[in-house]
Structure formats: structure tokens, C-alpha cells
């Protein structure tokens, strides 16, 4: 069966420090991968998605970047964190659609990032 791992679960980082959040998927190949950010009590904002190794699409200009060095690994990074980067970060994967895009997404448990 497929599983998604996201870590760490919580993180407190000072302003100006670097960030690396990792997400890995097991039990599938060629997944679409997504990074979302969720502010407290709000909806999910799509940050990045990837349809293959090295293929990253950014949805919003920001202080963050993403990379996909391996098929089932998705990394969210920042060189220098800002206070506004605080939030709940969620990684998700979806099967590579075949024909119609009738697929659901599967989410990790999230990382709560607090920038102080």
C-alpha cells in the first residue's frame, strides 16, 4: 500500500535561518507531488507541484523553493526564513492521471513551522 511520510511534525526556527522539509512517498511511482501551506483557521494555499523529477511549478512568488531530486522525494526549502513563513505545511501526492483526471490526493500529517 502507498504511504506518505512528512517530517518533522513541528519546527521552531529563528528568522533568517534556513529551512528544509522533506516528504517521501512509498508504494507508488511517478506520482504528482504537492506542497501546501495553511495559515491558522484558513484554507490551503498551493505552493508548488511537481509532475516528475526536476519538474517544479511554483504557484505563488515567495521566499520558498522546492526540489524533487528523486521520483518519490519532495523537498521544501528556504535560505532565510521570514516571520510570514510560519504556518502549517502539508505535502500530498496523487497518482499520475491516465486520461481523465479522476484521482484523489493523499496527504501527509503536516509540519507546523513557527518562525520566531
Amino acid at each position: 500500500s502507498q504511504t506518505i511520510h512528512q517530517w518533522p511534525a513541528t519546527l521552531v526556527q529563528p528568522v533568517g535561518s534556513p529551512l528544509s522539509l522533506e516528504c517521501t512517498v512509498e508504494g507508488t511511482s511517478n506520482p504528482n507531488l504537492y506542497w501546501y501551506r495553511q495559515a491558522a483557521g484558513r484554507g490551503l494555499q498551493l505552493l508548488f507541484y511537481s509532475v516528475g523529477i526536476g519538474q517544479i511549478s511554483s504557484e505563488v512568488p515567495q521566499n520558498l523553493s522546492a526540489s524533487r531530486p528523486q521520483d518519490r522525494q519532495f523537498i521544501l526549502s528556504s535560505k532565510k526564513l521570514l516571520l510570514s513563513d510560519s504556518g502549517f505545511y502539508l505535502c500530498a501526492w496523487a497518482p499520475r492521471p491516465q486520461g481523465q483526471l479522476n484521482t484523489e490526493a493523499f496527504f501527509g500529517q503536516g509540519t507546523r513551522l513557527t518562525v520566531v
Binding site: 512528512q6 490551503l44 504557484e59 484521482t103 490526493a105 496527504f107
Partner: protein, 111 residues
């Protein structure tokens, strides 16, 4: 950008009552999906309805889709305290594979 907007933003009901949440969207869809999120956790997929479907059931869940009005509704019947969570609608935007979510409805079911 958020492609689905839910209303109400918050809903509080008594156990046993039905809960209805609505979702509107702006562009054409292949399907619309509903997810649930318990506080501080990841999202869990509930149900997917295709653009050529009008209604779908799964247990106590009933989803309708009106493509002419670009809207969908999620009905939870005979609600339970354990249904307390945030509920989101989501859609895939065309061929670009972005899965985008609305702002969610916070449902509280009081025992």
C-alpha cells in the same frame, strides 16, 4: 489562487442533525472532491464526483454537483460529534495538474 469557496465558513449543529456545506468554483472542472481535516492534521479524501455526475453517496455523505451553477454541496446526515472537523472542496485545474482547495467550512457537532 483558490478555485473553490465554501460556505458557510463555520457551522455549529446538534448531534443527529444534518449538516450542509456548499462550494462554488469559477472555472470548468473534470471532477470536484471533498476532503476532511481534523484539527492540526492532514487532509483525508471523502468523496469525488465527476463532472458528468449530479449526485453521489458514500455512507452518511451525499454530494451534489451543478455544473451550470458551478457549485457543489456536501450533506452529512445524522451528524455525530466525531464529524467535527473542517471540510474542504477541491478541484484539479485543467491539464496543469494543480489541485486547488477552497477556504473550508469548520463544522462543530455538539453532543
Amino acid at each position: 489562487s483558490q478555485q473553490g469557496e465554501e460556505d458557510p465558513q463555520a457551522l455549529s449543529i446538534q448531534e443527529g442533525e444534518n449538516a450542509t456545506m456548499n462550494c462554488s468554483y469559477k472555472t470548468s472542472i473534470n471532477n470536484l472532491q471533498w476532503y476532511r481535516q481534523n484539527s492540526g492534521r492532514g487532509l483525508v479524501h471523502l468523496i469525488l464526483i465527476r463532472s458528468n455526475e449530479r449526485e453521489k453517496h458514500s455512507g452518511r455523505l451525499r454530494v451534489t454537483l451543478d455544473t451550470s451553477k458551478k457549485s457543489s454541496s456536501l450533506l452529512i446526515t445524522a451528524s455525530r460529534a466525531a464529524d467535527t472537523a473542517s471540510y474542504f472542496c477541491a478541484k484539479i485545474a485543467g491539464s496543469a495538474r494543480q489541485l486547488t482547495f477552497g477556504s473550508g467550512t469548520q463544522l462543530t457537532v455538539l453532543p
